[in-house]
Structures are given as structure tokens and as C-alpha cells.
């Protein structure tokens, strides 16, 4: 049986990724990056587990249970799917620090890590509005989840606030419960091509690996731009062929947040409660690799200032 004892020696970091896991070129990868940094710095051990599509609540609890039970601390659940299981398991291991990304979970030993994706997306929208020549921009979401809608909403608002006459098309690759939309590059490409054919010349894709298809399509048409997501996709080796089409990326520093929580446990002052990694705190932002947005940096800074000083609140659901 599992022992609920917390006294086994500290073995390092336990991390449970969402479907996709390390190497998804997206936010799981970003979490992995934070883990790697902390491991190198503090010379820690670690154990990484990854969810499957067919996983149930029981599987997720089992994973966290195994990690905590084996003495890993902190135990990090990457992705909102782990919300309930973190809540359940954290009670069994009061001395272990748990972290949950993209969700808010109450608990004395839980660090809830949240990002204001809508804020970075807003900046992406500003950049798009300033760069479009056809006054048509597009957004491709992998799946129409609440989280992805946050990206869409910020982007839409950023565009409209900058240039009200620019139209924003928001489309998703799959709907509802079908999460395959995050892993369909061919479909992402077809969707992007459809947008390009309609005269859209800036496309922001928040679609996991489907986004690479969209970026490729954009790279195939002169004078159009793609905006990446999560990590700095200009630096992504898998996208090196098309990186000159990547205007910027709306970065979400999951790595930083993961690093923070590991460090806090290492320092003996574990983080708990809700932590919002926002624009102000550098939790989200725009990547500047490639230098394609250097010319509009002033406008971007102005927008950023409005958000960080609180004069502008970005919506989290798109208006239709």
C-alpha cells in the first residue's frame, strides 16, 4: 500500500505533465525547462510522469500519490486537469508542497500558478494591428477551451483597441471535448491557408503543435506574419525553417513559475496560495527574437504600461 508518511528523505521534484508531456514544444516543455534549470542549480533529483488521453481522475490521483508517497517535494501538476487531484492528494501529504499550473486550488500546502495569457495576447493583438496591411487578422485556437478563449479575447481586444477597423477572425481546429485539435499540424496549415486566401495577413495561433502547420502556411506567403505562443517559437528548432515568418510569440513563463516553486521549497519557504504570473511580474510577455517588432516597440510599451498600471483590464472571453 501507499504510505502516507512524509518523512522519507527528500528525493527532489515530482512533476506530472499534462497530455503531451516533455517535448510538446509548448507549455509542458516550458515547465520542463524550469525543472531543468532548478535541477542544475540545486543539484536535485526528479521524477517526471505524463498523462494519457484516456486518463481519469483516478489515474491523476494515482500519479500525484505515487510522487508524494515516494518522497518527492514539491509535487507539481502541470495543467488544469490536475486541479481536483491536487486538492485530494495534498490533504494526504500535508508536509509536501503541491503546485498546480493554470488553476486555482485552495489548500494550505498548494501553490496555484496562474498566468494572464490575455495580457500577452493583448500585446500580440497590438502588434498584429500595427503590422497588418490588409486590415484583416486571424486567430487559430487548437480547441475552443476556456483557456484558449483567454488568448483569443486578449488578442481581439488588443487589435480593436489599436485599430478598430481591423477585423479579427477567430477559429478553432476542433470543438468541445475533442482535444486532438492541439496536435493536427495538417489541419492547422489548412485553416491558416483558408485565412490567408481570405486576405488575412497576420495569424496568431494558440494551437499546440497544430500551430506549426499554421506557421508553415504563413511562411509560404510573402508579406504575412505568424504569431507564436507559449514559448519563444522563433527559437524552436522544429520551426527553424519558417522562423522568419514568426513576428513574435506570446510567451508564458511556466518555466519561471516552476523554478520559483522548486526554489521556494529548497529554501525552506514553500510558496502557497494563488500566484498570478502577469505581465507586470514578467510571467507573460512578448518575445522579441528576430527583431521584427522593434519598430513598434514604443506602441507596445505604451500598451504594456496601461495594463501594468491597471488602467486597462483585458477581457478573458472574446466578444462575438
Amino acid at each position: 500500500g501507499s504510505s502516507s508518511s512524509d518523512d522519507s528523505k527528500d528525493k527532489g521534484v515530482g512533476i506530472a505533465y499534462d497530455v503531451g508531456g516533455r517535448g510538446d514544444h509548448s507549455f509542458n516543455d516550458s515547465a520542463a525547462k524550469g525543472l531543468d534549470k532548478a535541477k542544475a542549480e540545486f543539484n536535485l533529483g526528479s521524477k517526471e510522469l505524463t498523462a494519457k488521453n484516456t486518463d481519469t481522475e483516478a489515474d491523476r490521483e494515482q500519479k500525484l500519490n505515487d510522487l508524494a508517497g515516494a518522497g518527492y517535494n514539491p509535487v507539481i501538476g502541470v495543467g488544469f486537469a490536475y486541479a481536483d487531484s491536487v486538492k485530494a492528494v495534498s490533504k494526504k501529504f500535508p508536509k509536501t508542497t503541491f503546485a498546480i499550473v493554470d488553476s486555482v486550488v485552495e489548500g494550505a500546502n498548494i501553490d496555484s500558478i496562474n498566468f494572464t495569457e490575455e495580457q500577452s495576447s493583448y500585446l500580440a493583438g497590438v502588434a498584429a494591428a500595427l503590422k497588418t496591411k490588409t486590415n484583416k487578422v486571424g486567430f487559430i485556437g487548437g480547441v475552443d477551451t476556456t483557456l484558449i478563449k483567454k488568448f483569443a479575447a486578449g488578442y481581439q481586444q488588443g487589435v480593436k483597441d489599436t485599430k478598430p477597423d481591423v477585423s479579427v477572425d477567430i477559429e478553432y481546429i476542433t470543438q468541445g471535448g475533442d482535444f486532438s485539435g492541439f496536435a493536427k499540424p495538417a489541419e492547422g496549415k489548412a485553416k491558416a491557408k483558408g485565412m490567408l486566401d481570405r486576405g488575412i495577413d497576420v495569424i496568431y495561433a494558440a494551437a499546440g503543435s497544430s500551430g506549426s502547420g499554421a506557421i508553415e502556411a504563413v511562411a509560404g506567403k510573402k508579406g504575412t506574419w505568424a504569431i507564436g505562443v507559449d514559448g519563444d517559437q522563433y527559437q524552436d528548432k522544429g520551426l527553424a525553417q519558417w522562423k522568419t515568418a514568426i513576428l513574435t510569440s506570446a510567451v508564458k513563463n511556466v518555466d519561471g513559475s516552476v523554478y520559483d516553486v522548486i526554489k521556494s521549497v529548497k529554501d525552506g519557504k514553500p510558496l502557497t496560495g494563488t500566484h498570478v504570473y502577469n505581465l507586470k511580474a514578467g510571467g507573460v510577455g512578448l518575445a522579441t527574437s528576430g527583431g521584427y517588432i522593434d519598430d513598434i516597440q514604443a506602441q507596445l510599451d505604451a500598451a504594456k504600461k496601461k495594463i501594468t498600471d491597471g488602467t486597462l483590464t483585458v477581457r478573458t472571453t472574446p466578444t462575438s
Binding site: 500500500g1 501507499s2 484516456t54 488544469f80 486537469a81 486541479a83 476556456t146 476542433t174
Partner: protein, 369 residues
């Protein structure tokens, strides 16, 4: 004549045992070929995969697999391939969750209401395939595959805050309204090992009914007749078309139950995280269990064990994907072994019958002489 029975039993057991042994050998070879140590891996699977908390996990996993296996097996018994159990149970669980979340009645009404809704929805979705097959001659294999995809779309359409779902701002998840506690199913508390879902009782009941219905009732006889020979069934007086629709409805109704253990014992709501793909597991489980209620149970447990074993393997730094390879090899080996054993059995019986008849004839002749 008991002799033939015993032979059958031995032959029946020979196949899966043979297949599982072959699967382990092949898996070991794969592991070796990819530079991993197989014996430690098996050790982990058996040691860590069979601890008491793992046992609870396995039982809970196996419950929906079992129901899915039975749903598929009803079709198989009729020579119908209900590949659509997946769509049927998801759609059923969704609408059952909606209904369960919308009302708050005493448990004795609330729970049956939810279960019946699920069975009804599952049956209707499967029924479409049945009707299309009977009236338009469309292969159920194709229709059920299409219906799986369409079920996803239907759920997607309604799983939008404001339609039949709501948003949890905290956790960023979308789900149906939570089912009130009167709609929660009982469980067996195993202390630190967890809770065994009470729905396992229903699953066992379904298994018993499946066995009894098929082997002891007129209806079951008719159903098996159609599965063995449609033409003979027609000539014997079975309305084959009606039987196809009936069994599709039944299969769908049982499929409707697949999502219930998770819904009533665990999640209490249908969210985007609701497990998908159990219908396909059901196909493997039914094939493995040879459509026999006990066989399916063993297969479901085997599958549950492989799943827990996969996470234990991952913990020991093996690639948990090896379990997928293993599952594939097991199914492939099992279907081959069954067929080989079946043919061998028939041939052997024919030979034996021939020998016995010859012996009888000889003794008769001798007696006459």
C-alpha cells in the same frame, strides 16, 4: 460425453494462456532490442502493480472496461461490430450528467433516473447504426465509426457555458452542472487503499444477466443463432432484422452504462476531462475475453493491471509506452491463438467422431458375428 466438454475447456484455456505467454516473450524481446532490461520490468509490473492500493485501482479501472467489453460482446455474438461503443458511452454519460445535474430527487429515484437516461441515449445512438444496417444495408462498422465522430461534435456543441455546461472560473474547466449528492453511488471504503466504486456491483449484475440471457433464454438462443448463421436463423423463425436492431439497442444500452462508474462514483459531472476511448478498450477486452462473461472480466482486470503497471514502469524510468506495444501483441496473439485452437478443436473432434463411429461399427459387427 463429458469428455468433449473437458477437452473444450482445456482448449479454451490454452489459447489465452498461450497468447499471454507469447506476449510476454515478445515484449521481452522488444525491450531487449531497445536496450532495456525486461526482467526487472516484469518484476515491477507484478510487484508494484499488485499492491493492495493497486488492486483497488485495477478494480475501479476494470469496471468500465468490463461494461464496455460486454457491450461490444453483445454485438460480436451477433456478428455485429459495434465500434461505436466509444461514442455511445460518451454521449450517454454527457446527457445523463446533464439530467442528473438538473434535478435533485431522492437517491432511489435520482440514481435510476441517471442510469436510465444513459442507457436510453446509448441505445438510441447505437440504434441509428442498427436501423441503417437493416433498412439501408450500410455496414455497422462504418456507421458506428462515423457516429463516434458525430457524438464528439454533439457533445462539443452542448459543452459550452450557457448551453448545457458551465464554466469553473477557478480551475478553467468546463463541465455540466454537478450531480447533487443524492445522485452519488455508494462505494466500498478500503481505508488508505482508496475506495472501490460501488458500480462494480452493477457491472457484476450485468455480467450475470448477460450470461443468463444468452445461454438460458429463448431470446439468447435466437441471438446466438443469428450470430452463428444468419441464414439458418432466418429459416428457423428468427426475425433477423429485428434481432439486429434489438441487439444494437441492447449493446448501446450497456454502452450507456460504461460512463456511469466514473460519473456516479467519481467525477459527478461531465467535464472536458471525462475519460475517452474506453469503447476501444472494450473491443480489445471483448476479443480477449472471447465474449464470455468471465473471460471479459479477466480481460478487463488484465487491462486495468497493465495500466497501473504502465505508471509503475514510468516511475522506474521505463518508457510506459511499452505497455501499448504489449497490449497490441496480446490482442494479436490472442486472436490468432483462438482461431488456431478453434480449428484444431473442430478437426480433432471430427477425427474423434470418426474413430468412435468406426469402433462402434466394429463392435457391432463382432457382436453380430
Amino acid at each position: 460425453m463429458k469428455k468433449f466438454d473437458k477437452d473444450r475447456l482445456i482448449l479454451g484455456l490454452a489459447a489465452p494462456v498461450l497468447a499471454i505467454v507469447a506476449a510476454f516473450v515478445l515484449t521481452a524481446l522488444v525491450l531487449l532490442a531497445t536496450g532495456k532490461e525486461p526482467f526487472h520490468a516484469f518484476n515491477v509490473m507484478f510487484d508494484k502493480g499488485l499492491t493492495s492500493d493497486s488492486q483497488v485501482f485495477i478494480l475501479n479501472k476494470a469496471t468500465p472496461y468490463y461494461l464496455a467489453g460486454i457491450a461490444v460482446a453483445i454485438g460480436f455474438r451477433m456478428n455485429l461490430f459495434n465500434i461505436g461503443v466509444d461514442g455511445q458511452y460518451r454521449l450517454a454519460a454527457f446527457f445523463a450528467a446533464v439530467v442528473g445535474g438538473a434535478v435533485n430527487l431522492p437517491s432511489v429515484i435520482q440514481i435510476p433516473l441517471i442510469i436510465l437516461t444513459a442507457m436510453l441515449v446509448g441505445a438510441m445512438w447505437a440504434g441509428i447504426a442498427g436501423v441503417l444496417k437493416v433498412t439501408r444495408g450500410v455496414s455497422e462498422v462504418i456507421t458506428t465509426i462515423m457516429l463516434n465522430a458525430i457524438a464528439t461534435a454533439v457533445i462539443g456543441y452542448f459543452m459550452i457555458p450557457g448551453r448545457l455546461a458551465q464554466l469553473h472560473a477557478d480551475t478553467n474547466s468546463v463541465s455540466t452542472k454537478e450531480i447533487p449528492s443524492s445522485g452519488h453511488f455508494f462505494g466500498f471504503d478500503m481505508g488508505t487503499d482508496g475506495t472501490i466504486w460501488g458500480f462494480i456491483v452493477i457491472a457484476v449484475l450485468v455480467g450475470v444477466l448477460y450470461w443468463f440471457g444468452l445461454s438460458r433464454t429463448r431470446f439468447g438462443f435466437d441471438l446466438r443463432t443469428v450470430g452463428r448463421s444468419e441464414s439458418a436463423a432466418g429459416a428457423s423463425g428468427v426475425n433477423v432484422k429485428r434481432m439486429i436492431i434489438t441487439s444494437m439497442l441492447l449493446s448501446g444500452a450497456i454502452a450507456g452504462l460504461v460512463g456511469m462508474p466514473v460519473l456516479l462514483n467519481d467525477a459527478h459531472q461531465f467535464s472536458t476531462e471525462f475519460p475517452a476511448g474506453i469503447g476501444f478498450t472494450g473491443i480489445a477486452v471483448a476479443l480477449l475475453g472471447r465474449n464470455h462473461p468471465i473471460g471479459i472480466a479477466l480481460a478487463a482486470l488484465l487491462w486495468g493491471w497493465l495500466e497501473i503497471a504502465s505508471s509503475k514502469l514510468e516511475f522506474e524510468d521505463y518508457d510506459k509506452e511499452i505497455v501499448g506495444v504489449m497490449q497490441g501483441i496480446i490482442v494479436l496473439c490472442v486472436v490468432i491463438a483462438y482461431e488456431v485452437v478453434r480449428r484444431y478443436g473442430i478437426k480433432r473432434q471430427q477425427q474423434k467422431v470418426g474413430e468412435e463411429l468406426a469402433a462402434q461399427a466394429r463392435t457391432k459387427q463382432e457382436a453380430a458375428a
